[in-house]
Amino acid sequence: MNSIGSEIWLAMLTCFAAVFTQNILLTTFLGMCPFTSVSREVKTAAGLGGAVIFVMTCTAVLNWLAYKLLVYLELEFFRFILFIIIIAAFVQFVEMVIDHYSPKLYQNLGIFLPLITVNCAILGACLFMVIRQYTFIVTIGYGFGSGVGWFLAIIAMAGIRTRLNESRVPEGLRGPGITLIIAGMMALAFIGFTGVLG
């Protein structure tokens, strides 16, 4: 009982770290491509962010199980292909389920799902989970936390960018340049949380 309690505590700590101090987008730059291209409006950013939270949590758990199987079969080098296939298959599956049961949600979320398959952040989270040797419960916390971190970052960026339309940005910096500078400042702010929870 005690060990499960401490596991859950560890999972919560990992979750917190993944949201703030080790934010997957702002410290390891994963998922930059959709981040720079889809962060123009808060609403679309929220849609994509929500989809990322869901897919990341589920695929991290699925891939954890899959990796255990690979270790058992001594086929660890095969993990890249397996992870990619699981992510792609899961996204496809979710797309079909949503399409079947809730066409309205599909209209809002549908266009984002294929984007997620190539989102480096998802694969990155799965690979980090393997390298850091997380246990099952910690993996759930980590997957969820990484998703939330990504969500927060893209929402904040979209909010800032809508304001940016009114400001005068130097010619060469417009578009991606200024986005990166803002992301840098956000990264600074997020790193400021270091040490909050030990």
Binding site: L26, T27, L30, M32, A88, L127, I131, E171, L173, A187
Partner: protein
């Protein structure tokens, strides 16, 4: 789909005119995180260039036998195949580098440049020109990232490739710790994009 181009034009496009980083901020995901040290960046860039060139070659060779509706899956598998080879070679001959790069070698699979070149060029062009296209796009990408890593390592640690640089490694130079931390990468990349877009602002506009 773009038609086949003369080799000289492919080289110029990949390195400069259509440089994947300046034109569309693509593919920085997997490599930006290791740009705080020049050596790691160089290894990553070499791996990425090789993977891009070889995947383009393979995709192009198979282009007439790949059904259109599953081509993405086929391309991903081809890319993953080369990435696994690179990963295994690194693990076998340079284990320290392999642990330092961590998950980032594997992340070449989802790097948008590799997929982008396979999809945009190699899928509809002959093998040799696809190989050249992939190779020079990889090089164009590498030289920007190497520039970033040189700036970051020099300002942040006062060294380049681990060698101390006069003045920057002396006590007179207050090391910019921020440069080796993640935000530094954002700032340096933004400045470099700013610089290059100012040099050729007309061509960037689409």
């Amino acid at each position: 789909m773009s038609p086949a181009k003369p080799t000289k034009q492919i080289v110029l496009d990949g390195l400069w005119r259509d440089n994947p980083i300046f034109r569309q901020i693509l593919g920085i995901c997997s490599t930006l995180a290791v740009t705080n040290v020049v050596l790691n960046t160089a290894v990553m860039c070499i791996s990425l260039t090789l993977v891009t060139a070889l995947s383009c070659l393979t995709v192009s060779l198979l282009r007439n036998w790949t059904p259109r509706n599953i081509r993405m899956m086929v391309q991903t598998l081809i890319i993953a195949f080369y990435v696994i080879i690179v990963d295994l070679i690194l693990k076998a001959y340079w284990p320290e580098m392999s642990t330092q790069l961590g998950p980032f070698v594997g992340l070449i699979i989802t790097n948008c440049i590799v997929m982008g070149r396979c999809e945009a060029y190699a899928g509809s062009n002959p093998p040799i020109s696809s190989f050249v296209d992939g190779f020079f796009n990889g090089l164009g990408y590498s030289f920007v990232l190497l520039a970033i890593s040189v700036v970051r390592e020099l300002l942040g640690m006062g060294t380049i490739l681990g060698f101390a640089i006069p003045y920057f490694s002396s006590p007179y130079w207050d090391k910019w710790i921020i440069m080796v931390m993640p935000p530094g990468a954002f700032f340096v990349l933004a400045s470099i994009i700013w610089l290059f877009r100012s040099i050729k602002p007309k061509e960037v506009k689409k």
